[in-house]
């Protein structure tokens, strides 16, 4: 059809407007495809590794070695595969810890990515740890004076997220990594050896009663199911949590881009009313005209989704690599080009765009050709209900004109409002995420946990602690029906932990009841004054405690009570303890099960702040780009639509700045209003998202909005608006008097 030529010529003429909506569409599709593909690859690799290398269903840390005969009896009794594994934490250089495991054959089987399985005198280490510590295959590393050859790079199914302690939030492969070696080599290394029992069942569930039976035979220092194991669970939380991001963010951008396309289409149909009327009079059928105008949507849709798919597929490669570095997963499946993602990425935006554009077109095509051939003002000269409001006719000419413009462009005003809101929310998400990391470190590790080291023992301790150390008892409990938590029995007068809520210290409240962490409060829905029932993970004793307060502890499910009360509940002697907090560096001994160096944790956070800063900068750029496109498109259209009035103002002697004030700056209060309304919306929506994710992740990011965010966000949005005004003012400057007046005559 010859009319098709007009599509390309119009798009070429209005290239900025069409490029703007295409960029929005590309962004939406690209984000969806790249994130989906990366997550799909991650999921595929995780599933393959978990199944093929028999990821544990549970593991326990035993206080003593386990008899093979005893293990075989349990295997028979509970239909479970059990395997013993030894481990040692060894120092590598001054700052790195390598956790070496013995090689297993039935559960948590190691995958050698490069090189070979280590023999005596050899080790295989995690590749990402090797890279960070500049270790290459074949290198000899010095461990406690023993030179060991690196025979290969290894991945373990129970260390997919490679963190030192279960409670760690961030991994830091420069400081901590895992490796494997044989038992003989491990024995030759100094230091205490830990005994682990790994369990695997067909359905992944823990057989009823096995934990109790094992704990009757050997001291169980820790029992962790795969569902509670952060090293396993974190990748699954990431996959699940990302689903919201994958769909929500692209959907919002898609909605914005479709709204912009529809607006452009409406404008095009308005401009071509007479042409449409003429074509109808000549005998063109509605179907033919609808197909012709749908050509715009096809062009925008195919270009946007096509480029988006290409860019998304391209970006998914580096994104998958980032995930691969973050999670210690072997490349069991290469990039997962899930055809469904491509189909959804192409079809859904295209289908939505075409369907909604067809709806807008058919509204115009329902009009009689004669009506279309007449000028619009004659066809319908009705005032909107807003224009009939009494205050619309008060004030100076400038005020009345501006108010009327707002009232006549309700849709434009709404889109400006939504565009600013979307950019603000995106911007603030970045700011809040950036700030919450700092807040989390400051509150948790500086204000609340004031100790330098936490030393966890493998057996109950009763002897007097060293001067300046504060003993505490810790055990795993179940809160309510099935919420797992750590119970801390602390000395209420300890200076090493300050259970703070805002500025108030809750330690004195421990005499009244328990103090709980924020994630636990969210999951259980408990607040001060409520009661919670806790169950001892091993003895199954129950205790109902009243909540005295919720502390600003954002990581983990924790419940604090006085030590005496906890010892009584756990059946420990009154003076017993399982761990101490102290400032002095602890001496390693056989009694010590784990040492937590708080500075290491803080360093881990700081080492990742660069990545967070980049993410925030990226989000700010996307927010500004989206804001800029939406605002410029809208203000541009406003200039275009009001060109007859602009022309008249110019003829009458108004200066360009005055015309600009009348026509363009009218939206400034709307932009400001939208911004300040969006700030609490961003805060609330992020808080809500965090709350829904807390059960999966076990931590809660504080979502406070502080003054600098509001100021920087405001300046960014105002800058974006100002830039779009500048661009539209150029258009306003080019409105020709003759052309505009002619348009009015038509």
């Amino acid at each position: 059809m010859i009319l098709r030529k007009t599509i390309f010529r119009t798009i070429k003429e209005k290239k900025f407007q069409y490029a703007g909506v295409i960029v929005l569409l590309v962004l939406a599709v690209m984000l969806y495809v790249s994130l989906s593909m990366a997550i799909s690859t991650l999921e595929e690799r995780n599933n393959a590794f978990t199944d093929e290398y028999k990821q544990e269903s549970f593991h326990l840390v035993a206080g003593q070695d386990l008899e093979t005969q005893q293990m075989e009896e349990w295997e028979r009794a509970y239909d479970v595969t059990l395997e013993k594994r030894f481990s040692k934490d060894v120092e590598l250089g001054e700052e790195s810890t390598l956790r070496l495991f013995t090689i297993t054959e039935d559960v948590n089987r190691p995958y050698i990515g490069e090189g070979s399985m280590p023999k005596t005198g050899e080790i295989a280490v995690a590749e990402v740890f090797a890279t960070e510590n500049e270790i290459e295959l074949g290198d000899s590393v010095d461990i406690g004076g023993e030179p060991l050859k690196v025979s290969g790079f290894v991945y373990l199914p129970d260390y997919i997220y490679m963190i030192k302690r279960q409670t760690d939030l961030l991994n830091n492969p420069e400081q901590f990594g895992i490796g494997i070696t044989n038992e003989r080599t491990l024995d030759n290394l100094g230091g205490a050896k830990q005994v682990q029992l790994l369990g695997w069942t067909e359905n992944g569930k823990i057989p009823d009663g096995i934990q109790t039976e094992i704990s009757q035979e050997v001291p169980v220092l820790q029992f962790v199911s795969s569902g509670e194991n952060a090293r396993i669970q974190f990748v699954e939380s990431e996959i699940e949590g990302s689903q919201t991001l994958i769909t929500t963010l692209p959907l919002f951008i898609l909605a914005l881009s479709i709204a912009m396309v529809l607006m452009l289409m409406k404008r095009r149909l308005e401009l071509q009313r007479k042409e449409i009327g003429t074509l109808m009079a000549l005998g063109y059928r509605k179907k033919e005209l609808r197909n012709h105008y749908l050509g715009y949507a096809w062009f925008i849709g195919l270009t946007g989704t096509g480029l988006g798919l290409l860019a998304g597929a391209g970006f998914s490669v580096p994104l998958s690599n980032i995930y691969a570095d973050f999670f210690n997963l072997p490349p069991l499946s290469m990039f997962d080009w899930d055809p469904m993602i491509l189909v959804i990425g192409l079809l859904i935006p295209l289908a939505l765009l075409l369907a909604l554009t067809a709806f807008v077109i058919s509204r115009t095509l329902r009009t009689e050709p004669l009506t279309l051939l007449r000028p619009k003002e004659m066809a319908s000269g009705k005032k909107s209900w807003l224009e009939k409001l009494p205050f619309m006719n008060r004030g100076s000419f400038t005020t009345k004109f501006r108010l009327r413009l707002l009232a006549r462009n309700k849709a434009r005003s709404l889109y400006i409002f939504i565009g600013v809101m979307f950019s603000t929310v995106l911007l603030l998400f970045g700011f809040i995420a950036f700030h919450s990391m700092e807040r989390l470190v400051t509150t948790t590790y500086e204000d609340i946990q004031t100790y330098d080291y936490a030393v966890y023992y493998s057996t109950l301790q009763t002897e007097q602690t060293e001067e300046g150390a504060s003993p505490f008892s810790m055990a795993e409990i179940t809160v309510g029906e099935d919420t797992k938590a750590n119970l801390y029995g602390i000395q209420p007068d300890t200076s090493y932990i300050q259970l703070k809520s805002d500025e108030e210290t809750l330690n004195p409240e421990l005499s009244e009841g328990a103090v709980i962490s924020r994630p636990l409060a969210i999951i259980t829905g408990a607040t001060a004054g409520d009661e919670l029932t806790i169950t001892n993970g091993i003895s199954e004793n129950e205790l109902t405690v009243e909540i005295a307060g919720v502390a600003d502890l954002f990581i983990g499910n924790a419940l604090y009570l006085p030590k005496d009360q906890v010892n009584e509940f756990l059946g420990y002697p009154q003076e017993a303890y399982t761990a101490v907090w102290q400032d002095g560096e602890p001496q390693m001994s056989d009694r010590v099960f784990l040492v937590e160096d708080k500075q290491e944790v803080i360093d881990s956070f700081e080492s990742t702040s660069g990545a967070t800063r980049n993410t925030v900068a990226g989000m700010a750029v996307v927010a500004v780009v989206i804001g800029m496109i939406v605002l410029t498109l809208l203000t541009n259209l406003i200039v275009e639509e009001n060109s007859p009035s602009i022309s008249l103002f110019k003829v009458m002697g108004y200066h360009e700045n005055e015309v600009s004030k009348l026509v363009l700056n009218v939206y400034t209060p709307l932009v400001i209003l939208s911004y300040f309304l969006s700030v609490p919306i961003a805060q609330m929506s992020l808080e809500q998202t965090m709350n829904t994710l807390v059960e999966e992740t076990g931590f809660l990011f504080p979502t406070d909005v502080v003054w600098w965010m509001v100021v920087v966000g405001f300046l960014t949005i105002v800058f974006t608006y100002w830039m779009s005004l500048m661009l539209s003012k150029r258009k306003l400057k080019h409105v020709s008097l003759q052309e505009a007046l002619k348009k009015q005559q038509d």
Partner: protein, 233 residues
């Protein structure tokens, strides 16, 4: 193709006032002739042209063209009717600005099962040399020539011209009228021209005068004058 209009009545509402645009209009338009409909603004001449062309509906009466009662046709049938039989020429030309002269004419050509030859038509309206130009590069008279070519290339049975010279000066206007006469003589196309320019009536085979929605007079000219001799008013 003869056009039979019988007791056609059309009214519409303008605010609180009811306007009778056509009051029982009855006329016969003979085949292959030029018919001029004259009358002042608001006399109903445009409404009459629109109902004959099938772009407007009427409240009562009947119009019979090519064996089809227009009042019985559904919207899509009316579209097919226009596609097959009618060619429209507007006062403001209504060309598509993004298409060249030739492409604008192709817009009409695509609708026809038996279109005329593009080069022949554009040559006859004197626009072949300017076929690559866009409408904004043409004068008003040239744009109207293109509009005539667009209507003509479909090879329609009748041309409906709504003030075709209304936006043109005398010299150009007369050239357009000469072109319409040429079309009528060469292709046998019935030409209906509505105008408030009384002089144009002199070149028509039949003149219909309208006032307040009524046909007040119908005059047949056995020897219509040449367009260049028309008294321009």
């Amino acid at each position: 193709m003869a056009i039979h209009v019988k007791e056609v009545h059309k009214k519409y509402q303008s605010g609180e006032v009811q306007i009778h645009a056509l009051r029982d209009a009855t006329l016969e338009i003979p085949d292959h002739k030029i018919v001029a409909i004259l009358g002042p603004s608001g006399s109903g001449k445009s409404t009459l042209l629109n109902v004959i062309g099938g772009i407007d509906r009427y409240d009562s009466g009947s119009i019979l063209i090519a064996g089809q009662q227009l009042e019985t046709l559904k919207d899509h049938q009316l579209t097919d009717f226009r596609r097959k039989y009618a060619g429209f020429i507007f006062q403001q030309y209504n060309l598509i600005p993004a298409l060249t002269v030739q492409e604008n004419v192709e817009v009409g050509k695509e609708l026809s099962e038996r279109p005329l030859d593009m080069e022949d038509i554009l040559t006859k309206v004197g626009m072949w040399d300017k076929r690559e130009k866009f409408p904004f590069q043409l004068s008003g008279g040239e744009q109207q020539r293109v509009a005539i070519a667009r209507a003509l290339i479909k090879n329609p049975e009748f041309l409906l011209c709504d003030e075709p010279t209304g936006a043109l000066d005398e010299e150009t206007g007369k050239k357009i009228l000469a072109l319409l006469k040429y079309v009528n003589e060469t292709y046998g196309t019935t030409v209906l021209i509505i105008t408030h320019n009384q002089g144009i009536g002199e070149m028509a085979h039949k003149v219909i005068k309208m006032s307040s929605g009524e046909i007040v007079e119908s005059i047949d000219h056995e020897h219509p004058i040449d367009p260049e001799k028309v008294t321009w008013s």
